[in-house]
């Protein structure tokens, strides 16, 4: 009883606290503007919502669409990535990102993974972070329940069944906990970035005097290794590393 009340409170907070009418109103206006092909106005409204601290995959997806219509490929890709970060199983964002990536000058080689890592990758993307949280919570609840059961009936000799289930749930719990942790780390990780400027030159050191290593173009997705004095060491998907200026890119972060 006590537990269900708390669960109800949790959901109530989630639903009520952030569903403000005002935001919905702005969102509707933005959608209407988009439908009337007034993309820049729509974008401003959507961005306003983002600045109000709203984190929503659909919102990021719509912002990405606005940028795409305004021919800002880098920003569009950045926002699609953001949408996917919030909800890794956002199909529409995935599709649009794939499509947008075909417009970048640089071919974004997708590493050919073997089937096992592909499987884990899919598994990783299949469960969104919050879904994992709920699964973990339920598993934890079950474990606690079984432990309580065992304690209350410790005098009874027959304990095989609860212990078996306890074992199963603990195994599942560990599995999902690992997955959840990785996912959570990935969510808070800010290493991924998208190039927003038309093009950027990668040097072998944090200065323009160093040797030019590569040139990348708008929409390139890469990871940041470290940052020094306005320069960042980045790693391209194909393994190339180089230093580029920080004002060229934006991190994929919420």
């Amino acid at each position: 009883m006590k537990k269900s009340i708390i669960l109800a409170i949790l959901f109530a907070v989630t639903f009520f606290a952030f569903s403000e009418n005002q935001h919905d109103e702005i969102f509707r206006k933005a959608v209407t503007a988009y439908e009337q092909k007034d993309f820049s106005n729509s974008l401003q409204l959507f961005l306003g919502l983002e600045n109000n601290g709203i984190v929503n995959a659909d919102l990021f997806y719509n912002i990405g669409n606005c940028y795409f219509r305004l021919n800002k490929l880098g920003k569009a890709i950045l926002y699609y990535k953001k949408a996917l970060k919030v909800n890794s199983s956002h199909r529409a964002a995935e599709r649009n990102l794939k499509y947008a990536l075909t417009f970048t000058k640089d071919k974004q080689t997708i590493e050919k993974e073997n089937s096992i890592s592909l499987f884990f990758h899919k598994l990783f993307n299949f469960f969104s972070l919050n879904l994992l949280a709920i699964i973990l919570l339920i598993l934890f609840l079950l474990i606690i329940f079984i432990i309580n059961l065992i304690i209350l009936r410790y005098r009874e000799t027959e304990k095989t069944v609860p212990v078996f289930f306890l074992f199963v749930f603990i195994s599942l719990f560990v599995l999902f906990a690992i997955l959840g942790y990785l996912k959570w780390k990935h969510f808070h990780g800010e290493n991924e970035a998208v190039l927003l400027s038309q093009s950027a030159i990668g040097y072998s050191g944090p200065n323009e005097d160093f040797t030019r290593v590569f040139t990348i173009h708008e929409g390139m997705i890469f990871t940041i290794e470290k940052t020094e004095n306005g320069w960042s060491l980045i790693k391209l998907p194909n393994g190339l590393g180089g230093w580029i200026k920080n004002d060229n890119f934006e991190r994929v972060k919420i």
Binding site: K2, S19, R28, D58, N65, R95, N130, I151, R155, W184
Partner: protein, 599 residues
């Protein structure tokens, strides 16, 4: 026509004088016949070698038609003057049907045998209208079993035409051009029909004919007509659509009917007779369709119809297709008119329609379905206009115009415009690619990351806290379970104390009640401690204590004190004042020992 008198030719053969000759003669069964009768012409060839003669060739007989032939042969032996002579007679029977009334001659019939020609005499026949011969008696099954013999005349007629005839039933006497008529030919008979076949195919001039029914086997039912029982069978049914106006003739249907007559006596096996019978000629008045009020779109539909239209979808994408179906159903000349014309609608392409006409068995009612496949070529709003269909309503005798509903059609922008080339199919090709449309969420929810929310982890703590709580609860429960025994044990000491207090009172006053108090107190105390019912006998208590394995010395002390109590209480003179203090001390020691020992 040859007129030869005669004759009997005697021919002397080469072999024997007598045996070579054959005799040929012809005769008819009657010289006066009716047009409905059958004349039987018999040609008889007799002689020794008659069986070697070929079948005589029947010349063409004017005004008669041959409807059947039959042959038989017989042989006879005659003894004349002790000489035996054998003779064979071959008989050929021809059934002739007179075609009209008058006086006619059956020409001589010639037979060739061994290069010689034998010819018979011509026979003159008078043919009258109708029938001269009495009809054969009707089938026994057709006689009314309930009618008495006196009323037989009512029930039978000996005239053939009353017992065997074909009727032509026409459902309408007067029709409009194009309005169907159904003609049903029925054969009525009071004889046992053996076989029948059509003599001719009626020639329906001025009609467009649809066969409704032709029997493939004899299928008679019993019926009553004019108070008589008949076998009746529908021999033909046609639907006629007049194509001309005026009085049109419905031609008669002629049939050859073989009937079997009833055996009249034991030696009569009955016979099969052939009759050619015809239905009466009838006519129908076909009226012209009135010119007055004739709609412009009238295309010849006559009858009674309904029309309905339907459309497979109201909303589609450009490049997709839908079907527009017109359904005309009703009674009339469904096959003989054109469906309503569809107007041209720009950007809607109507493919040549698929027309199916479903005619019911009666050939005059059914449904005509016209199916158009329509391809929407451009987006926009379209209207398929209401179509008109005019027909002449035969029951109300005026022109009527029906209207279909008009349909509104919304064609959305399609991804690609696909116009099929003929009927061959091809894969839908993607012509353009774009990002997906924005998402219009009703409620914009902020995504709370549960892992980062305090409430989430708070729940975990609550859940985790339930374990120690449960642990405490479990412990408590365990205690409660033991509580009853615990209470008794706890109180056992109290009770003992109470009794010991009383005992010490008595001991101080050196009263014999001391022993009673000690005994009852110990008894109850031990019973509670051992968890056995109070009031158990001493022996039982002792045996219980022995079972629990109390140290030997305590047990013997206990027994000792019980003995002393018994002695002091129940043996006369067993109580002495001087022992009481000692015993009190001993009781105290034992109680001390027992309360220390765990039982």
């Amino acid at each position: 026509m040859k007129k030869i008198f005669a004759i009997l030719f005697l021919i002397i053969g080469f072999e024997t004088i007598f045996s070579a000759e054959i005799e040929v003669q012809s005769y008819v069964d009657k010289t006066k016949v009716g047009t409905q009768d059958i004349l039987k012409l018999t040609v008889e060839i007799s002689g020794k070698n008659a069986d070697k003669v070929n079948k005589p060739h029947l010349p063409k007989i004017n005004n008669f038609s041959v409807v059947g032939s039959y042959s038989s042969s017989s042989s006879s032996v005659t003894i004349i003057n002790g000489r035996m002579q054998s003779s064979i007679t071959k008989t050929y029977e021809f059934s002739l049907q007179p075609q009209k009334a008058g006086k006619f001659i059956i020409p001589p019939i010639s037979v060739k045998y061994k290069h010689k020609t034998y010819t018979t005499e011509p026979i003159t026949i008078t043919v009258v209208e109708g029938s001269t011969e009495p009809a054969p008696p009707v089938s026994g099954r057709m006689r009314n079993p309930y009618s008495s013999s006196s009323s037989n005349s009512d029930n039978y007629s000996n005239k053939l035409s009353d017992n065997l005839f074909i009727t032509a039933e026409i459902d309408k006497k007067s029709v409009f051009e194009g309005e169907p008529i159904t003609v049903t030919y029925k054969l009525y008979s009071r004889y046992d029909i053996y076989n029948l076949d059509f003599e001719n195919e009626p020639n329906f001039n001025g009609f467009w004919k649809e066969d409704v029914y032709t029997p493939n086997r004899l299928n008679f039912r019993r019926t009553t007509k004019n108070g008589r029982l008949y076998y009746v069978m529908t021999v033909r049914k046609v639907a006629l659509f007049p194509t001309q106006t005026g009085r049109l003739v419905i031609p008669p249907l002629a049939m050859n009917v073989q009937i079997r007559t009833e055996p009249r006596s034991f030696f009569d096996f009955g016979e099969t007779r052939n009759y050619l019978i015809k239905s009466k000629q009838k006519s129908v008045l076909v009226k012209e369709l009135p010119a007055e009020g004739k709609p412009a779109d009238f295309s010849g539909a006559v009858g009674k119809f309904t029309i309905s239209g339907s459309i497979s979808t109201n909303e589609l994408k450009a490049g997709d297709s839908f079907t527009y179906t017109l359904k005309i159903s009703g009674t009339g000349n469904l096959n003989n008119f054109d469906p309503p014309q569809l107007p041209q609608i720009s950007n809607l392409r109507f493919i040549e329609p698929e027309i199916t006409t479903d005619i019911n068995k009666d050939k005059i009612s059914g449904t005509k379905i016209i199916k158009y496949l329509v391809i929407a070529q451009e987006k926009g709003n379209y209207t398929i206009p209401s179509l008109t269909f005019s027909y002449f309503d035969t029951s109300e005798k005026r022109y009527k115009t029906l209207k279909t509903k008009s349909y509104n059609l919304v064609v959305h922008e399609g991804e690609s415009i696909y116009v099929p080339a003929g009927s061959s199919q091809s894969l839908v090709l993607q012509e353009g690619k774009d990002i997906g449309f924005i998402i219009k969420t009703e409620k914009l929810k902020n995504t709370v990351i549960y892992f980062d929310s305090f409430l989430f982890w708070f729940l975990w703590i609550i859940f985790a806290l339930s374990v120690p709580i449960t642990f405490v609860i479990a412990k408590e429960q365990e205690k409660t379970a033991r509580n009853l025994d615990y209470l008794r044990q706890k109180q056992a000491k109290k009770i003992l104390k109470k009794y010991m207090k009383t005992a010490s009172e008595y001991a101080r006053k050196n009263k014999p009640e001391f022993y009673a108090a000690v005994q009852v107190g110990l008894n109850n105390y031990l019973a509670d401690k051992l968890k056995i019912p109070r009031g158990s006998t001493q022996e039982f208590i002792i045996s219980e204590i022995e079972k629990r394995g109390l140290p030997e010395n305590i047990l013997s002390d206990l027994k000792n004190i019980f003995d002393k109590c018994n002695k002091a209480r129940f043996m006369p003179g067993g109580f002495s004042e001087k022992n009481i203090q000692n015993d009190y001390k001993e009781v105290q020691r034992i109680v001390n020992d027992i309360s220390k020992t765990k039982i």
